[in-house]
Amino acid sequence: MVVDQLHETELDRLFQAFADSTRRDIVRRVTVGEFSVSGLAALYAMSFAAVQKHVAVLERASLVTKEKRGREQIVRANHEGLQNARRLLDEYEHMWCQRVDRMADILAEG
């Protein structure tokens, strides 16, 4: 599984980001439209600080972006980051295809 440390670290951040149902819900909502952190906080039975923390985890995983607008912090989906998530999954598949190629090469030696 250890292929490229950089990619693995990206993947870990993504898995960590998606490991929590509130964070998944936040991502789902902001892909449809932008939300302020306080707007999100009103949706969940948790403190503003707790929601802010979840947003920070998603931000680190490049799944959302946060921008100050006046006194509000606006959260949006990071479409580039989401594409990257999909690409990482496909890379995992590609990695196994390459392994199979090497296996075939060894077998071809007889």
């Binding site: 998944r24 590609h94 196994w96």
Partner: protein, 165 residues
């Protein structure tokens, strides 16, 4: 073409890869059983694997590291959860510290390797399941919702090149 099909299944949260080799099942089995052969294919040429422990028995552990272009080492471990030579092999795969001890801080993946004899050839099916299953499903679903045609197209062309190579 060696790889016959790959399937990402968001319901089962798995990746299934089917490949066929021009060799008998016993011979293909050696690619897993013999650590010297295993390390020739597990890591890419730029990150070759070294298996310094390989207890190829049910419940046995394997320890390996992969050496990067700058000499940096990434450690990993396997635990063989099931071995039925030369038909089926199951193992967990995760990260380890430099002493080969599982770190636990990263996810574990579980692989099931099945070998079937098809005429003169051997069909290998590898089922890969992530421990962070929910996350993986979410990732895949989001990918679809976002209509990531561009990214998928890139992968398709890479796979097409790969298939014709």
């Amino acid at each position: 073409m060696t790889v016959i099909s790959t399937e990402k299944n968001p319901e089962a949260l798995s990746l299934t890869l089917v490949a066929e080799f021009d060799a008998g099942a016993e011979r293909v089995w050696q690619l897993f059983e013999d650590p010297r052969q295993l390390e020739r294919w597990w890591g890419p040429p730029t990150y070759p694997a070294t298996f310094y422990k390989h207890e190829f028995v049910p419940g046995g552990q394997a320890s390996y590291y992969m050496t990067g272009p700058d000499g940096d080492k990434s450690h990993g471990w396997w635990e063989f959860t099931s071995i039925n030579a030369p038909r089926q092999l199951e193992f967990d795969d995760g990260f380890a510290d430099s002493d080969g001890n599982p770190t636990g801080e990263y996810g574990i993946s579980h692989a099931t390797v099945t070998l079937e004899t098809v005429g003169e050839r051997t069909r290998m099916t590898i089922l890969s399941i992530f421990e962070s299953e929910e996350q993986l499903e979410q990732l895949v679903q989001m990918g679809m919702e976002e209509g990531m045609k561009q990214a998928v197209g890139q992968i398709d062309s890479i796979l097409a090149e790969h298939a014709s190579a």
